[in-house]
Symmetry: C2
């Protein structure tokens, strides 16, 4: 992906927390010296939107001055994170960016969260389109989370990737960063997705009219004892980096079913 | 999964088109003789919701008489398809069903659509929870689609699966059915997910106040020339059945990155 001399790579940035969040500002700050940054992000929080797209209603898009202090072009949209990537490519850039970065998410997207996460779905959308992409998440949900270490890690990883000459166009990475100061982080570990998930529970309440309603809650549980998982790495103070694919075919079951008489 | 004598399997049914759609009624009709059917489905259309869950607002749930003619219990919820599965397990069944069926979707969910589809996300949620699951889709988007062939295929596949003694609890299948009469369908093919997707385009319009808005549109393109894909099977009048996994780790890239000096 090395660019010709004087040609700066185009870096598309999006997120799911919304364009005003501290996480996306930190991401812009971390990579602004690495290329021409363009931000296209949702105008409302879109966490847990998964790979939702907007087909039943039209989308709005407005230019914003929010990153003018860094000379960075920014657009907010009424769509989901996935819509943002599509709009960016088709209506703003009119080309594919050289890389797409999503985040930095306020909160973890390791293990099964990759499936629910708007941050990772935006990154996956880019990878499907043939744009190498990374989703970044910090293990701190707070509005005012400290992104100091995250920014260093983002800068290191993105600058190394931009120097790769033969990066696969569908390259997709799910990066989670422990909520620690830089000097406490032990390094970056290439991992697999842990089988760890939320054990759901619903909090049942009565509205003022006596009718029931339910809040989704849950407790996180790790069922995966392997040591090369993202959950293991994060628990041991490493940054986890999981290469992700969008071919969901289960090839081993495919082979079994082809040999069996089921459905024949 | 063979049940003790007299013990009927519990079959959870959901969808993304909403509980009043013809597709979900066809699914109930197709399997009602195979077990105790319980329906928990959205009260509004939730197509293209992907794996979205509802965390920012509470959920409502109401019992309905919509399938009383078949003696089938039914609940509508204000949530996404994934929410429906979670609510069904935790608040309605108070146990895991023996199998979860999602659909029958009005429209295709082959190839990359597996990632955007609410139908498949509901089925995947069940599989993550350890409930074998199948998503069914008919290649006909019309409100009044003909589900005659689909019902025969669903009955055959579900009755065969219910007889399997050692079915993996995370078993997940993405089944697409061509819009053809039963005698024209050539059989069921075990497939992989094609790399085929929509090439997006946005239709730009002006509102009465002169402001732009955008409709997401697109043209479907198949980039995959392999003959064991779902798109190939459907084009050749087969039902496609793709075994699906929710571990998104790209293990071959993981191996490459572990050997490389990137990020070290």
């Amino acid at each position: 992906m090395a660019k010709a001399k004087n040609e700066r790579p185009v870096i598309l940035i999006t997120n799911d927390d919304d364009i005003t969040s501290k996480g996306i500002r930190s991401l812009v700050e971390a990579v602004q010296d690495l290329g021409k940054v363009v931000v296209v992000a949702p105008n409302t929080p879109q966490s847990a939107m998964g790979h939702a797209i907007t087909i039943g209603s039209p989308l709005r898009m407005n230019k914003m001055e929010i990153f003018a202090d860094m000379g960075v072009e920014a657009w907010q949209t009424s769509g989901t994170p996935v819509d943002c990537v599509k709009l960016a490519v088709d209506k703003i850039l009119h080309r594919k960016p050289d890389i797409c970065l999503s985040g930095i998410n306020h909160g973890a997207n390791h293990s099964i969260n990759v499936i629910y996460s708007g941050t990772m779905s935006a990154a996956m959308e880019a990878a499907i389109e043939g744009i190498p992409s990374i989703g970044f998440s910090l293990l701190d949900y707070s509005y005012d989370a400290d992104f100091t270490a995250s920014k260093q890690i983002v800068h290191k990883m993105v600058s190394e990737l931009l120097q790769q000459k033969n990066l696969d166009k569908h390259f997709l990475l799910n990066v989670n960063i422990p909520a620690l100061p830089p000097e406490k982080i032990r390094g970056i570990k290439i991992c697999k997705q842990a089988y760890a998930k939320y054990e759901e529970d619903f909090t049942e309440r009565l509205d003022p009219h006596g009718k029931k309603y339910y809040w989704l809650t849950g407790e996180f549980k790790n069922f995966d004892k392997a040591k090369d998982t993202d959950v293991w790495a994060l628990e041991h103070k490493y940054v986890s980096a999981v290469p992700v694919q969008f071919d969901l075919t289960n090839y081993s079951v495919k082979k079994l079913l082809e040999k069996s008489k089921l459905f024949q």
